[in-house]
């Protein structure tokens, strides 16, 4: 096998394909007409060097693309919420098919919050990594998990919105239901595009050693390195806001539900999102 064939195999192994691989091979072929193979370097090491840099750049960029898509979807979601939900809040028992309606209503509350939290964590990590030429593979994997979680729950929010509008159609006008369902489904398009960008980025494999770190490496503020304490403080803060916003009766109900949601999500997703080790 010639040197260039070896380099081609190694580039494919680390996930560099298409135009990027063709360009590297053409440049290497041109170089080797003047230089020698031994001086050019080991094909495996060289391919990995390309992959380490490309993976860092692609994963970080995918996180920014995802955050932009989530921002767009979030803005649309907020507008939809104001136009449809607040204009005629449905009685929770008035769903055409109650179990589906209840799940959609719960998802409508929980999914956007999880998506926002995961997206924010991804953005913080991406900002930290953008200064690095190459980032440890474990850090990139964590960033990709945060990005994918944010996108998945963002898409779930849109789906829940559409299902809610359809299942509680009795409470809304026909045009509201159609607008809500069509708007929610169309807002899933940028999220899907961002997910595809993320999957493409994940093909290139970095092999840089190092720890993934946790949320304490991401926040600019010095927090006590006790994840559960931070979780409870956050849940408590949100509970106080909800209490203040809706009074003792409804506010208390909302506050308890929020605390339970935050604690359950922290337990379920904490490791995946690098919130706790």
């Amino acid at each position: 096998m010639s040197y260039l064939e070896q380099l081609s195999v190694e580039l494919t192994r680390v996930g560099i394909r298409g135009r990027a691989r063709a360009r590297i091979l053409t440049e290497a072929a041109d170089h080797l007409t003047e230089g020698d193979e031994e001086r050019f370097g080991d094909p495996r090491e060289l391919a990995q060097l390309f992959a380490d840099e490309l993976a860092t750049q692609a994963t970080t960029r995918a996180a920014y693309v995802a955050f932009a898509a989530l921002g767009l979807a979030g803005a649309g979601f907020a507008v939809g919420w104001v136009l449809v939900i607040l204009e005629g809040t449905a009685d929770i028992t008035s769903a055409a098919f109650l179990p589906v309606g209840l799940v959609a209503a719960f998802a409508l509350i929980a999914c956007p919050q999880i998506s926002f939290a995961a997206g924010l964590l991804a953005l913080l990590r991406a900002r930290r990594l953008r200064k690095l030429r190459v980032a440890p593979a474990a850090e990139l994997a964590l960033l990709a998990r945060r990005t994918n979680t944010a996108l998945a729950f963002g898409a779930s929010s849109m789906l829940a919105f559409a299902v809610y509008a359809v299942d509680y159609h009795a409470a809304f006008s026909r045009s509201q239901v159609i607008a809500a369902a069509a708007g929610a489904v169309s807002l899933m398009v940028p999220l899907a595009a961002a997910a595809i960008a993320g999957r493409t980025a994940a093909v290139v494999q970095s092999a840089v050693p190092g720890e993934a770190g946790d949320m304490f490496d991401d926040f600019p503020l010095p927090l006590p390195r006790r994840p559960w304490l931070v979780c409870l403080a956050l849940a408590g803060g949100l509970a106080v806001v909800l209490l203040a916003a809706a009074g003792l009766d409804e506010g208390l109900r909302n506050a308890v539900a929020e605390v339970v949601l935050v604690v359950v999500c922290f337990a379920a997703l904490g490791r995946r999102l690098g919130l706790r080790s």
Partner: protein
């Protein structure tokens, strides 16, 4: 140590005129009196990154029937090189002061 300064060295090699990868390697070797001997292929990931960062641009040309990618430093690249030169001189002065 050389790897940590490869960006600045490549930018400096392109400062006077554009060059292809092998030409850059040759300039580095000549200007360092053959002291800088790195795996020649490692210059390409650096060039590709500098291009992504907008510090160099590149285009295909033809050379003896082959396709050749020629790199040219940008204005942002020249500014980055000025900053890195200053940082290097500060660092070198500090090392010299300690070692002397």
């Amino acid at each position: 140590m050389l790897k940590g300064h490869l960006d600045a060295l490549v930018l400096a090699a392109l400062e006077a005129e554009p060059a292809h990868g092998y030409g850059i390697i040759r300039r580095l070797r000549t200007r360092s009196s053959d002291v800088f001997r790195l795996a020649e292929g490692t210059v390409y990931p650096t060039l590709h990154r500098l291009e992504r960062d907008g510090l160099v641009t590149s285009r295909w040309t033809a050379a003896s029937g082959r396709r050749r990618r020629v790199y040219r430093i940008t204005r942002a690249g020249r500014e980055a090189l000025t900053v890195r030169r200053f940082e290097w001189r500060e660092f070198a002065r500090a090392v010299e002061a300690v070692l002397a």
